[in-house]
């Protein structure tokens, strides 16, 4: 147990000065600007927005700079900042089908309507270090533009299977039921899918990746395919009460993943494909795919599957996915536990003395 302590003010102030000096690094090297971080370390900035659960690229870039590149620390800074702001509006549900698609692939259909659009991807790179990037004198070669007037909207892959009745339809929304919100109510278990998706959308990428991997290795296997993965920009709409009609307030970058899974069928459902869903702020493919796999694994109650694997255990997944809660509780062990430890030390000494006493 942590017990409050006093003192150490001067040491703490000096430690923070030392931190600032180390953050700046070698003063003969130019300082990083927030704009540089936002435009060149984009994926790091996107991860901070996704897990910080706050979309604002400038703030996220500032957090990355302040945290010296420690992304979980940066996420913490963003989460703390959001608590200082009032909530002014709720958006209408995003129309991801109308995104401006910059990347869109499907591993289920070779000739998918709308095409396989690779976009800016690490896939198919050779993962060899590019030493030409070690020099900072160059502009990148301009990307090749394609046809002048490409198609505006790209149809969703799931719709194709949907038309043939081979994949489950999404459960319709119940307008009477309020949408759960983790930022307003503590998580109660069992949790409905809205709360699970909110939890996963802000959950730690590494944790979800490992859980997703565990389902592939047989711990709650679900035989998945990437029905579709898309990255692009979608408009956010709100309907302010003073207007009474919806307006767009801006565009955000999103990654969406439709995972398609085999399902043997149940008493009430014929054999068909089921779906897991991932939607994440920014360009975060690994996270969106992991989220979709874990979302599917957590639908056991609904689909009649045993909670016989970690990824299918709702309490295990949802209570440990948040890296701010997790690091808070793990890292608090660094704070003074002097009194507690003294008590345990005394306890051990007593037990030893008892053991050493000659028995009668």
């Amino acid at each position: 147990m942590y017990v409050a302590v006093k003192g150490g003010e001067r040491a703490i102030a000096n430690a923070h000065k030392l931190l600032a000096e180390e953050r700046r690094g070698d003063p003969s090297v130019p300082e990083l600007s927030v704009e540089q971080i936002a435009s060149q370390l984009t994926i790091a900035v996107h991860r901070v927005m996704a897990e910080g659960s706050l979309y604002d690229p400038e703030l996220a870039a500032l957090a990355v700079k302040q945290a010296r590149g420690d992304l979980i620390e940066a996420i913490f800074l963003l989460r703390a900042y959001r608590t200082t702001l009032p909530r002014l509006a709720y958006s209408l549900p995003l129309e991801t089908g109308r995104m401006t698609v910059r990347r869109r692939i499907s591993s289920t259909f070779k000739d998918v309507p709308g095409g396989q659009i690779l976009g800016p991807t690490f896939d198919y790179t050779h993962r060899l270090l590019d030493f030409s990037l070690a020099a900072t004198n160059g502009a990148a070669p301009a990307a090749e533009p394609g046809p002048a007037d490409p198609p505006a909207a790209v149809p969703g892959v799931v719709d194709i299977l949907d038309r043939q009745g081979l994949i489950e339809a999404s459960a319709p929304a119940d307008p009477e039921r309020p949408i759960g919100d983790l930022t307003r109510e503590p998580l109660n278990l069992p949790a409905e899918r809205d709360l699970r998706l909110q939890n996963l959308a802000r959950g730690d990428e590494g944790f979800l990746l490992s859980l997703a991997y565990s389902t592939q290795r047989g711990y709650g296997g679900s035989h998945p395919f990437v029905g579709e993965l898309r990255v692009g920009e979608a408009a956010v709409e709100i309907e302010p009460p003073e207007l009474g009609f919806p307006i767009e307030i801006g565009e955000i970058t999103l990654t969406e993943c439709q995972m398609v899974n085999q399902f043997k069928g149940s008493k009430s459902e014929p054999p068909q494909f089921t779906r897991g869903y991932g939607l994440v702020f920014g360009h975060c493919e690994r996270k969106a795919m992991s989220m979709a796999l874990v979302d599917r694994a957590l639908r056991g109650r609904e689909l009649g599957e045993e909670p016989n694997a970690p990824a299918r255990d709702e309490e295990f997944v949802l209570m440990h996915s948040d890296n701010i809660q997790a690091s808070g509780f793990t890292e608090h062990l660094k704070l003074p536990h002097h009194v507690d430890f003294q008590a345990e030390l005394e306890q051990i000494r007593k037990m030893r003395r008892r053991a050493e006493e000659p028995s009668e």
């Binding site: 070779k110 759960g180 998706l197």
Partner: protein
């Protein structure tokens, strides 16, 4: 319920004003050389919008996460009230967009010089992004085994 024509039109310009990069709005606004007299009813306020998605992309809504938003309301001297909600932390942008919203309600002919260039720039950015993506369209061929 379908929107009335005036709502439809107002939705169009409020969306264009909000989605414009601040530099584009500044340029368009300064080119018009307008200096309308107005009162600020609600100072630019920075807050959050909770963004919602849908399970499966088309199912029941859920809360995806929040985004920053700035809102502002103004009144022209003739009493016309203008509102703005713009993504991010952009007080100047929100106030100017609110003034534009009020002006456009009394003079819709401003759509030409003010809104159309913003919409054109947005459409061009979208088109350029799609064209670059289009160049990465892959044709995959399945290899036949055992030949």
């Amino acid at each position: 319920m379908p929107l009335e024509a005036t709502q439809q039109q107002r939705r169009r310009w409020m969306s264009a004003l909000a989605k414009a990069p601040e530099t584009d709005l500044r340029q368009a606004w300064q080119a018009l050389r307008l200096q309308p007299a107005y009162q600020v009813l609600r100072k630019p306020e920075i807050g959050l919008t909770m963004v919602r998605g849908r399970a499966g992309g088309d199912g029941a809504p859920f809360h995806l996460g929040e985004m920053t938003v700035t809102r502002c309301s103004v009144a022209l001297d003739d009493g016309t009230v203008g509102h703005a909600y713009v993504s991010g932390r952009r007080p100047w942008h929100a106030e100017t967009a609110a003034v534009c919203d009020a002006l456009l309600q009394s003079s819709p002919d401003l759509i030409g010089p003010l809104i159309e260039p913003l919409e054109k720039a947005q459409a061009e950015r979208r088109r350029a992004a799609r064209a670059k993506a289009e160049a990465t369209r892959a044709e995959f061929f399945t290899m036949v085994r055992g030949e």
